[in-house]
């Protein structure tokens, strides 16, 4: 064990998993509750961490944690998959994607099935890898599937700037990046009844905690920007409970080792140089004003949909899948008739079962 502790890279992880501190925080939370509380974690990384570390069993029953729409794969509409599938069927196209999208079912096929059928679909760890593939394959066009929130979008922006700088002309993105604050706003003005948010720590590393200040300001909601280890999550729940008890909601930062109020200004600058806000459809939540990012006109040459317009019919997704209600915090995965039966990670019926941060996938892997 000792050797593992000294391995490079586990710093900032092990010390935030201390068992004694976890139990102590759990006790403190129990001593602090004076009523019922409902907190939403909007980041899929939090959903995964909460279940992996068994956080619900460390909380009193008066505290309910609900998962929100924070898994980028899960909120990506089925039409996006259909478009990616259609592109993969064209000649001289290489599709580059993060692994999570491979198994997501479209209305007819998935990228995994297309690849098995001979399409050139490649997994990449970074958008820069996709650009490199374009550089080495000048006779083909590389389309990078650009999904993800504020954490991922600046990487696409940096890559597009580099493509321009290097004069690489066969690189495109199918852009469906989304931003979190407008979705949080849509949730609190909708049906979900919440007392506060476990705010997404890695989104905030880019945007700064200021992106969430409208939540206590306009809606009276408690907010804590939270890290991803057990003591981070429990300390944040304690801070949220105290905020609610005091009746003084604010945005506090628990994850101060990565997050400041102003965030990463370089990433913000690159992002806004290349992308601009647009309305975007979220699976389950519908159209949310200003919640998407599209390429600015000056960068249209990198937009797959503008340079290779597709003519495909929009089709409806599987009706029995209740991902949409789960993403709004109205249902949990076990409420779905298909859960664990005809929908499993090996053979998913909906997007929430695919990604390691999807609520259905997390509930499947860590049954209560």
């Amino acid at each position: 064990m000792k050797q593992e502790m000294n391995d490079p890279g586990v710093k900032y992880i092990e010390e935030f998993r201390d068992k004694e501190m976890v139990l102590n925080l759990s006790g403190r939370i129990r001593d602090s509750v004076t009523g019922e509380y409902s907190f939403m974690e909007v980041c899929g990384g939090h959903t995964a961490a909460i279940h992996r570390f068994g956080i619900p069993s460390l909380l009193p029953p008066a505290i309910r944690l609900v998962s929100g729409p924070g898994c980028p794969v899960c909120v990506t509409g089925v039409d996006y998959i259909d478009k990616a599938v259609a592109y993969s069927r064209l000649d001289n196209i290489i599709i580059c994607t993060f692994g999570d999208l491979m198994k997501v079912p479209g209305t007819g096929s998935s990228l995994e099935k297309e690849r098995a059928g001979g399409a050139d679909v490649r997994l990449v760890l970074s958008c820069l890898d996709a650009l490199e593939i374009a550089e080495y394959n000048p006779g083909k066009t590389v389309i990078f599937l650009a999904i993800g929130f504020e954490t991922t979008a600046p990487g696409s922006a940096v890559t597009i700037l580099r493509a321009r700088e290097k004069g690489i002309r066969n690189f495109r993105v199918l852009a469906a990046h989304k931003v979190m604050p407008p979705a949080m706003k849509a949730l609190v003005t909708g049906e979900s009844k919440l007392d506060g948010f476990i705010c997404p720590g890695h989104v905030a590393a880019i945007t700064g905690s200021m992106a969430f200040e409208f939540l206590p300001g306009d809606f009276g909601l408690a907010c804590v920007v939270t890290g991803f280890e057990p003591t981070d999550i429990l300390l944040s729940v304690l801070m949220l409970v105290k905020q609610v008890n005091s009746g003084k909601p604010a945005v506090e930062i628990e994850y101060s080792r990565a997050v400041t109020r102003l965030g990463n200004s370089i990433a913000q600058e690159r992002l806004s140089r290349v992308f601009e806000p647009c309305d975007a459809a979220w699976r389950g939540l519908g159209m949310i004003p200003g919640s998407g990012l599209r390429l600015r006109r000056d960068f249209e040459e990198f937009d797959a949909e503008i340079t290779f317009p597709l003519d495909i019919a929009l089709r409806e997704e599987n009706r029995s899948c209740i991902c949409g209600r789960i993403l709004k915090g109205l249902n949990t995965p076990v409420d779905c008739k298909l859960f664990g039966k005809s929908c499993t990670p090996e053979s998913p019926a909906g997007a929430c079962m695919v990604s390691a941060e999807g609520a259905c996938n997390v509930y499947y892997r860590y049954p209560e």
Partner: protein, 74 residues
């Protein structure tokens, strides 16, 4: 894909770095962070360093946890 992990910077060449996540080595673009040197910890997200981790702030959080813990044991 939305996961970001702390990674130790092993080597820097231009605006790219080699980083270690618990011994596994990855490439990380440094285009969004400033003043990163070998030995720093960064948050690695889809192949980019999205933030430098602040040791002083980490220690502060740990101190707070310790204080809460000690007060709890009294």
């Amino acid at each position: 894909m939305c996961l970001s992990v702390p990674a130790l910077v092993l080597r820097i060449e231009g605006d790219m770095a080699e980083v270690s996540v618990g011994g596994a080595v990855f490439r990380a673009g440094l285009q969004m962070v400033e003043n990163v040197v070998v030995g720093d910890y960064i948050l690695l997200h889809t192949g980019f360093a999205i933030q430098k981790l602040d040791e002083r702030d980490a220690i502060e959080t740990l101190e707070l946890l310790k204080e809460l813990n000690e007060a709890g044991n009294e």
